[in-house]
Symmetry: C2
Subunit: 138 residues, 2 copies
DNA sequence: ATTTGACTTAGACAATGTCCAGGGTAGGAT
DNA sequence: ATCCTACCCTGGACATTGTCTAAGTCAAAT
């Protein structure tokens, strides 16, 4: 985590209380928080922090590749601090819970050239959907 | 297309001018329209149609399984009339263009039981990302 | 200690989607 | 053909999420 702060400083990030707090929140719980959830937790540590700053900081972390944006539905984007180990997501269709998963196989290799339509394909996201144990039993 | 209308009528759908227009728009161009784009095209055919009705109708079509919802980013959801042939999506990271693709392999089988965390997994979406030819050359 | 430009703030704004009360109508019943 | 009624549509208010801006603040280089 101080790793993260070090990396960011090394990249010319100006270190501010706000940015430190956002980074701490993301690193603290390895769950997939929405921007508003990050904001709520950040406010608990630094009451004056503004919503705009949280959005800005999350955007910068995404640009820097330190955090991944996950869009599983039309609600809020979620932020995944686990950016350095490739993985995919398993989402509960009912409650929205997300788990990181590591399928076997390589989906990138499964897209033949004839199915690429001239695109430069650089990334694949695989999203598994289903019901989590508690939603399935309800 | 009248297939579609027939199927819907058979399921007890009350047929109205508004619903017919929405179905026609979706069936007319097999592209991935946003709700607002559907609304714009619907208004061209039936000027009084309201936004709420378009949203409602799209939602019903999704529930009935006639249309798929595609969420590739935090902008608008898109609606895919190609609900009856399984496929995945290739998205341009710059301009948002979407193509249907058919990768080989079976990603569902690539998720071992140990990675399912007790979820009842029912579906997989694979989203390839890259740059479309025109965005890549710009 | 000074300086400077990057950072933060509050709040207005934008985009998308949802909800509601009231009026309208499709399609079955007569 | 007409009537009824449950279902549908409308317009607009509202909610959620995210973006932008102008002005003030502060980290860090000097």
């Amino acid at each position: 985590m101080s790793d993260l702060l070090e990396r960011l400083r090394g990249r010319g990030w100006r270190m501010t209380a706000q940015r430190r707090v956002v980074a701490e929140v993301l690193d603290g719980e390895h769950v997939h928080l929405t921007a508003d959830e990050v904001h709520a937790r950040a406010v608990a540590k630094l009451p004056e922090i503004s919503r705009a700053t949280v959005y800005n900081t999350l955007g910068e972390l995404v640009t820097l590749g330190e955090v991944l944006e996950v869009t599983t539905d039309k609600r809020a984007k979620r932020y995944d601090p686990n950016a350095h180990r490739p993985h995919h997501h398993l989402v509960c269709a009912r409650c929205g819970a997300i788990r990181d998963v590591h399928p076997t196989g390589n989906p990138l290799a499964d897209l033949p050239d004839t199915e690429r339509f001239g695109f430069t394909v650089s990334d694949v996201e695989v999203t598994y959907r289903g019901l989590c144990p508690s939603c399935a039993s309800a």
